[in-house]
Symmetry: C2
């Protein structure tokens, strides 16, 4: 019997056991490894708990073992500790978030709280590990000057082009848009069946050959993309890890759908989709290929602001004042859109609740009331009213059908409206960082004269800085334009889908009512 030191929320489908601080559990297997211990709670439930969350002698202390939550036990500046579980449990109300059909606290749908959710399960051993690099390369000690003042830029690596399009700077888009399908979730297990996991099949349209990936692989990919491209390109968070479904199946379906959304967005980005690590993820040939690629990606040194070194705008340097105005406008725009998106999410959430709660109940009651009156009529003993009672019963059943339709409808239309807006909420949450990296670059260049005067940099370095900040500005503008064109596409599509489904919904109801109407005697 040991005591639980900290709250731990089990990830569904992983044989884990949720425990609460102060609870007493029985250790049933200390030989699991990977930082895990098998324990049984007072209700007889058995599952894995991180060993550091339990007050046991550190017999099996794993090298990756996390420090206890909420203790600032960092060994170096860049380490962010895996204390996310406890915080996230609070943030997510411990509530079901597999779909939009339950009350969410306002924070739940917030995918931009990456700052809080700092930890991650180690991709090898499933324990919590520090992040390999800071999550905010732009804010790391080095800052944009690492790139702006770098003596030598990337040697011989592939360059990313930016052209001047009709709308301004744009990325060079591939002729054939990469796409992939995330499907067919399957349960796998490891550690002699003690730990199970879900594997998704990911099939890119280029090779049409499926590869398997677990959630943690997606998470690994996200981390790589964030490290490598996050200073220049907003990389939206993966669907929330701590989200738990009411049923495992529902949870898996929801996660898959969101992973699909995330992958589609990544595929659509010309820089992301052409990156080596993304290609590896989609097209690795075998386990060995995957492991080699992973090691290579993790050793990649062109990360953080150094990504700008691989970008080559094919146009003259930009006017810094004009650029600043554009950035300010975009900053205001993203803020306003964030508000607009949140409004839709709030209203949609309420509408969801009404459509799945009181409204169908009311239609059901109307249906029941008609049917009850019909059966009273049936008992009248008066002959020749079968037509009326049959028609009234049918009308009552129609309202019961409408009740079901009303309750089901949000999944058919509102769901996608909510998902899209939620995705955009996450995406918009990334822009402040991206804009801040750029702003820091601009500020550095503004200090140019002072830095030359105090001999902090040479006049030549000042010229180089201005040129490089211009590259950063091209990048940011290409990103803005990428965002806008995607936004227009996405909202066009989701509004069409929503209105189409809504129209169909009302048409079906009208049809059913017409049929019910036809059963009454024409007089």
């Amino acid at each position: 019997m040991v005591q639980v030191l900290y709250d731990f929320s089990a990830e569904p489908g992983n044989n884990e056991l949720s425990v609460r601080e102060g609870e007493t559990v029985t250790v049933t297997n200390q030989n699991i490894g990977g930082g895990w211990i098998e324990a049984q709670n007072s209700r007889g439930e058995v599952g894995l708990v991180p060993e550091d969350y339990l007050e046991v002698s550190p017999l099996f202390m794993h090298t990756h073992a996390p420090p206890p939550p909420n203790q600032n036990h960092s060994t170096n500046q860049q380490t962010v500790h895996g204390s996310n579980e406890q915080i996230s449990t609070g943030t997510f109300c411990g509530d079901n978030n597999a779909s939009w059909d339950i009350a969410l606290c306002p924070e739940t749908a917030n995918q931009s709280n990456r700052a809080i959710l700092g930890g991650s399960r180690c991709s090898n051993c499933q324990t919590f590990v520090r992040l390999p690099l800071s999550r905010f390369p732009g804010f790391s000690k080095s800052g944009p000057e690492l790139y702006l003042l770098a003596k030598q830029l990337v040697k011989g690596s592939q360059k990313l082009s930016i052209y001047m399009g009709e709308v301004g700077p744009v990325w060079s888009y591939p002729d054939n848009q990469l796409d992939c399908v995330v499907a067919d979730p399957k349960k796998g297990s490891k550690m002699y069946g003690l730990k199970s996991y879900i594997e998704y099949q990911v099939t890119p349209n280029t090779t049409n050959r499926p590869v398997n990936h677990r959630y943690k692989h997606f998470d690994w990919l996200y981390e790589r993309l964030l490290d490598k491209l996050g200073s220049a390109i907003p990389i939206p968070s993966l669907p929330d890890k701590q989200v738990t479904g009411r049923f495992e199946e529902e949870f898996i379906k929801m996660r898959m759908e969101r992973l699909q959304g995330w992958m589609t967005r990544m595929c659509r980005h010309p820089v992301v989709s052409s990156s080596e690590v993304f290609q590896l993820f989609l097209t690795y040939k075998d386990e060995k290929d995957w492991k080699t690629g992973k090691r290579k990606a993790e050793k990649d040194e062109t990360v953080g602001v150094m990504i700008f070194a691989t970008i080559e705008p094919e146009a003259p340097d930009l006017d810094p004042i004009e650029v600043e105005q554009k950035c300010d406008q975009f900053s205001r725009f993203t803020k306003a859109m964030d508000d607009g998106v949140k409004e839709i999410l709030t209203v949609g959430q309420e509408h969801w609740k009404r459509c799945t709660g009181p409204l169908p109940k009311e239609y059901q009651r109307i249906g029941k009331a008609f049917q009850n009156l019909s059966s009273v009529f049936n008992s009248s003993g008066y002959q020749g009213e079968a037509t009326l009672t049959d028609a009234m019963t049918a009308a009552g059943k129609t309202y019961e059908e409408i009740a079901l339709m009303v309750a089901e409808q949000p999944r058919k239309d509102l769901h996608f409206l909510m998902e899209t807006n939620n995705e955009y909420k996450g995406l918009l949450g990334c822009f402040p960082d991206t804009l801040a990296v750029h702003k820091a670059g601009i500020e550095k260049v503004k200090e140019g004269d002072k830095l030359v005067a105090t001999s902090k940099i040479t006049p030549q370095e000042k010229v180089t800085m201005a040129k490089r900040v211009s590259t950063m500005s091209y990048t940011l503008q290409a990103e803005m334009n990428h965002f806008h064109s995607n936004r227009i596409y996405d909202y066009n599509r989701v509004m069409q889908l929503y209105l189409e489904e809504q129209a169909k919904f009302y048409e079906t109801i009208a049809e059913k009512l017409r049929q019910a109407h036809a059963q009454f005697t024409t007089m």
Copy 2:
């Protein structure tokens, strides 16, 4: 300055003043007459108050003056005193009941509480008067034996026939169904403009010549019909007197609509529609004709149970046991239907509230959210998204239109469903009395042998009683069948109307959504 002795609720449109017990008012005119006094309250409002409700010297004591409310000051057994105002104010919550769009207390819609609402305004002087006869002829001391043991029945008066139809005993229906239109309410005034009233135009399809009637005339007609036919035929109450509209216009419209409903139902009844008093009401030629007819009707002695004396079933006497079974079945049926009708009223009331309250607000918020996001998009500075923003604005406006439609819809369909069910609730509330009169007759006949043995009646009278109770049974069954056939017609009609309007409603919404959908770019 005088004190108010009892609460008094002003009838709208009549220049009356609502006062509360204990309030002090200033008498501004004692010479109004008709039992009324003009008074001014502390808020400066001036209007008429019944003189007996004020603590003034009985200088102008009117012969019709009512005793004060809640005092059992009866001069004879049959007198029911006009103490209704105070009670009814409580019953109706003092709330607006002009339509179904406001919360009603469960008692409000209850039209069967005639027992409480005993008084009536005198049709000549607008004061409260005792009812000419008990409201419940069946329960009067005389009871059905007045008819069962009457030495001599009606001399030479018109007989009402009952035939054996396919469904059993039925009234003899006229070839041409009487009908009338209640329309064109106009404000009139009397007492030198001190008291105003509303006059409705009533046009029967027989003469096609309009006659004018005030509410009190309808009320007079109701009293006459109740006195004359109420023992045999359920006469539903008039629309509630104390109902007050939010606006006078709305109130008048609502009252007119309900008077129309009541008149239509009365026209449809072969016995009511052919009665002299009803014909007088619809076709009087001039004021003199009306006054003469009124006096005659008020002197009519064939009232209460004596109505059965005018009924002649053209068939052999009925088997009392079979009759009792039918009555029991009908009694159960009306009880069950009363429950069913109340269920619809309750559900409908809730649905009304949702449709006029939270639901349109939500659609409006959805509409606003779309429009807000559209105007944010408009500020993007990105070129070529006018199609999207225009379409999104249009979609937003569509949802605002839907909000209005949702809020307006109950008046177009639910209203009639509620009105019909409310009418039936009133009608069903009359049946217990009608059934009780019949049951009392049956019981009397059952006592027959005992009564003969104790020489209370002669053997010949026993035979007469049995014959006459059979007439009562025919009457009741004709009424049941009349009720059933009307019920089938009414519910067929109201369900058709409801479903037709509902279908149209959803079709219109779907069309609007299709139009909004078409504005988005097809991709």
